[in-house]
């Protein structure tokens, strides 16, 4: 009796566990529990680090010998290849959406703004890290120049690249948009941004994982809600594979 009970109990627990896991992950309740856990992490991080605390910055000698490119390594278009060869003379970064004064900025305009240079660590969701020196204007500078409206709750980062046939995009809330280290980088280690790292422009969202740092930027759009952007989950990886929108964990 005890023997059967023991084996039965163990088998039952194992079967229940495996079954319950896949059931829970697929259900709406399961999804909302996962989302709640993600929200608690974000709330805990924001409570501990506040709005302004900086990610660590390193000395030049701490940089990794190279900076890995991952995800999209180029933009598959004739326009991009032509621009890449010429130093992106016709590339434009749109700043629009819920703003008073939409902007269309060329690279020269972006380089003419006050710049921030920071040596930071890039952590990929896969687990690896690289360290590099990034230069560019703070996103907050661009948003102030365009005069973002009060109703804006998120900033959507629009990109030229596609992955698996979809346009890459990402989004952040206004806290991260106005974080001092959130910059629109046009240079890596003192050189114009390499192709594999998102030339000519990429976002640096230093308190979150790498997939938030959108590359090949074409637009910055202020929105009230993410529901009508892409499939509504706030980013390419979020829509495509269920990645966490808050990538600070």
């Amino acid at each position: 009796m005890a023997e059967i009970g023991r084996r039965g109990l163990l088998a039952g627990i194992a079967a229940l566990g495996a079954g319950a896991c896949s059931k829970m992950a697929d259900s709406d309740t399961g999804r909302s529990i996962f989302n709640a856990a993600e929200d608690w992490h974000r709330a805990a991080h924001r409570t501990l680090a506040g709005r302004q605390r900086l990610a660590p910055e390193y000395a030049p000698e701490d940089r990794s010998p190279s900076f890995r490119g991952n995800g999209s390594l180029t933009v598959d278009s004739d326009f991009y290849r032509a621009q890449l060869g010429q130093g992106f003379p016709e590339w434009r970064l749109m700043v629009d959406g819920l703003v008073e004064r939409p902007l269309a900025l060329g690279l020269a305009d972006i380089r003419a703004l006050p710049q921030r240079t920071q040596i930071t660590r890039h952590d990929c969701v896969e687990g690896w890290s690289a360290i590099g020196e990034w230069t560019g204007p703070q996103l907050g500078t661009l948003l102030d120049a365009a005069n973002v409206r009060e109703q804006a709750n998120f900033i959507v980062l629009r990109c030229a690249d596609t992955l698996y046939g979809r346009e890459y995009y990402e989004s952040i809330d206004m806290v991260d948009a106005y974080h001092p280290q959130t910059i629109i980088a046009h240079a890596l280690n003192g050189e114009p941004l390499p192709e594999k790292n998102g030339a000519p422009l990429r976002a640096r969202i230093e308190r979150q994982l790498g997939y938030k740092h959108a590359k090949f930027l074409t637009g910055i759009e202020a929105v009230a809600s993410l529901d009508d952007i892409g499939q509504g989950k706030g980013g390419f990886w979020e829509d495509f594979a269920g990645y966490q929108w808050y990538a600070g964990i």
């Binding site: 993600e38 687990g127 690896w128």
Partner: protein, 223 residues
């Protein structure tokens, strides 16, 4: 008096579930980049100190490679794990469980005490009232080192935590070192888990006691 307090039993089973979920989802996450490094950065396999095997799907949550869902499970299960660890430590210190049953004295650390504990076990004599020196040292290692190490190294590899606790990442030798230590401590806990489950299955009564509370054998406490 019960052998196991309600707080101990509740924590034990909640933590058991949390650890299994964390470990199995962690193996899935490990499959995303199977190299471990020391220091702050690391992405080139040539710089890795270890290449980890690809963990087969039956060992992972979910039972296929899915980094996003594995992270969902990991980020969920860490709440009962980390909060539970904090609460059980407070409970153990307040209710005397730590001082009475787990704290070791100098006599517990002698080779003679270790050998005597192992002999008693091999002889089939179940531990009398309290824990023997080997058990105390192992539980101490798990409660005092491995479980807290999982929480601290886990916090250290979260980019959203680092601005609040940069000293933690520095103290662990950098972000990739923290990730390596997270991996090593997880396998330390796995080793304990295997021994623990084998021992518990050998004495089926012990599992029942961890559910019902059992009865403390008063006379044996002095033996």
């Amino acid at each position: 008096m019960r052998r196991h307090l309600l707080s101990t039993r509740l924590w034990h089973w909640v933590n058991a579930v949390a650890i299994v979920v964390l470990f199995m989802s962690g193996l899935n996450i490990s499959n995303a980049h199977r190299y471990l490094y020391w220091g702050n950065y690391g992405f080139d396999p040539a710089d890795a100190w270890a290449k980890v095997i690809r963990f087969p799907a039956w060992t992972t949550i979910p039972q296929r490679y899915d980094l996003a869902e594995a992270r969902d499970w990991h980020n969920l299960a860490v709440w009962p794990f980390a909060v539970g660890l904090l609460l059980i430590w407070i409970a153990m210190l307040v209710n005397g469980h730590f001082r009475r049953d787990l704290a070791t004295g100098r006599r517990d650390w002698t080779p003679r005490a270790f050998i005597a504990s192992l002999r008693a076990h091999a002889g089939g004599k179940p531990a009398a009232g309290g824990y023997n020196p080997v058990q105390k040292v192992l539980y101490g290692l798990v409660f005092g080192v491995l479980l807290p190490a999982m929480v601290l190294t886990g916090l250290a590899i979260s980019p959203g935590i680092e601005p609040a606790m940069p000293w933690l990442v520095e103290g662990l030798g950098g972000r990739q070192s923290a990730r390596s230590l997270h991996f090593i401590a997880a396998w330390g806990i796995f080793g304990f888990f295997v021994i623990h489950v084998v021992m518990a299955l050998a004495g089926w009564r012990l599992i029942g006691e961890m559910i019902t509370g059992g009865r403390r054998r008063e006379e044996a406490d002095h033996g």
